[in-house]
Amino acid sequence: MTIAPTGNPTSNPAEGGVGRDGIEPRLLGRWLRTGRPANLDEHSRQYRRVPSESGPEIIRLATAAGLRGRGGAWFPTGRKLAAVAEQAAQAGSAYVVVNAAESEPASMKDRLLLQAAPHLVLDGAELAAAAVGARHITVCVHREAHALEALQGAIAERRAGRWGRPGIRLSVVTTPRWYVSAEGTSVARFVGGGPAKPRSVSAYKQGVRNQPTMVSNAETYAQLALIARYGAAWFRQLGTETAPGTWLVTLSGAVVQPGVYEVPVGTTAAEILRLAGGPTEPWQALLLGGYCGLWMPSGSMLDIPLAPEELRAAGVAPGSGVLVGLPAHACGLAETARVVAWLAAQNARQCGPCFKGTPAIAEELAGLTWRQDRRALQRLRYTMAMVYRRGACSHPNGIVSVTESALRVFAADVRTHQSGDGCKWMSRTPTLPIPAPLPLGEPWR
């Protein structure tokens, strides 16, 4: 299944398909066939109504299916639902937030999913609301995704068609453009009227206006909507033992057909690359997980199943499904230096070690990369150790991780840059696009 960056299906239908047997992709199947989002009428004919399960049954189903969050953390969804439900029983109220804020520059899967199958996402969110006892659901979309109207239209369709659980209110908000504003606790805080900045307390305890809040990625809810209809055993037919199901990956970089692909969890990067028509030029490395992810060298690592447990042994993680292929004729150190400079400027300015330390990391990495500063590497390692896990959210950790993995994977470039020889690829057009810096007064609301 192939989707060009514009979101239209190409003329070359999936050779492999989900499960390599030509099985229709679970989330994107209809979109790939028709090239249009399913309106409520089509959705209701394809899926019929969501079974009206009780809260505890929904939690049992999610747990039995082994569904794990698709927002990057891969946290077991059943466990999160149960935690929110437990807190809600004590607090007397609960809230559900659908996180489609997707501030990750190299990720497109959530905005595509919202276009392709909005009703699956909303069905899943309503199931979560029933599970935790919430009567309000807010969908968060990125301010620049221009998804607001379409989603409001889908919600209006549901009301007119009397589709979905009664007594549950759906709303949509657009989140600020900051990278950290798409974090789980940030969106919950924003929905509650605060700034879209991370909090130290988990949303399941204190989220929207301090109510227990279920915050999950849009794709997670869509998967839940399918599990409720087809069951846990069906869900487990694809994927791995510990991370069942399919997932959406966004492939970009030196690839013939970049775009969003739906594959079983555990598919290797090499297989995904094959689905995408192969590389445009030989790769030297792959960035996995996002800009705050980890570099993997090309070669045998591309044959590791992309799933949490399998990747952990290799010191990497699947994250939110971002895969960027770095060509051999590029400088991984320069690419990382640009990314880290941007990431550091995106911090929430809340935690000292982060707002002091991440710009220092960016500066030291820049010194190493662009100014042949021989002592920058030592200072960089010291600063990273001082910053790692010292903030309220994982933003500084992500910056340290991507930097540390770059120093390892691009060790040869580090030596070249330190020795003052520069490198011939460092001025090549960036493979990792850097969004324009946000203006000084860019709002957090």
Binding site: S202, A392, S394
Partner: protein, 96 residues
């Protein structure tokens, strides 16, 4: 600094020898009073923010530990059961 929206937690438990320090770094402003009061367990990084000892508070430092929590101007420092989560945040460990 934005105000923490947390309900005021019980920051100083009765028996602190089964507790370790935890700081809400989004609230901490780097006053450094905690490091002054119990330097054996709290050091300051290059920017003046606390680096907390991992382990439980030894009995001979219990009084100083309680005092450090009490004197934090931002109420950012607390003592929590020694097995609970990470030193700066639970959300960093369990993303949502």
């Amino acid at each position: 600094m934005s105000r923490s929206w947390q309900q005021p937690p019980k920051r100083i438990p009765t028996d602190v020898t089964t507790c370790r320090f935890q700081v809400d770094m989004s609230v901490c402003d780097g006053y450094g009073i905690c490091a002054e009061l119990v330097p054996e367990l709290i050091k300051l990084d290059d920017w003046g923010y606390p680096i907390l000892s991992d382990g439980a508070v030894p009995v001979e430092l219990a009084r100083h530990a309680r005092r450090a929590v009490r004197f934090c101007p931002k109420l950012a420092l607390s003592l929590v059961p020694a097995e609970a989560g990470s030193a700066t945040s639970e959300t960093a460990a369990v993303a949502g």
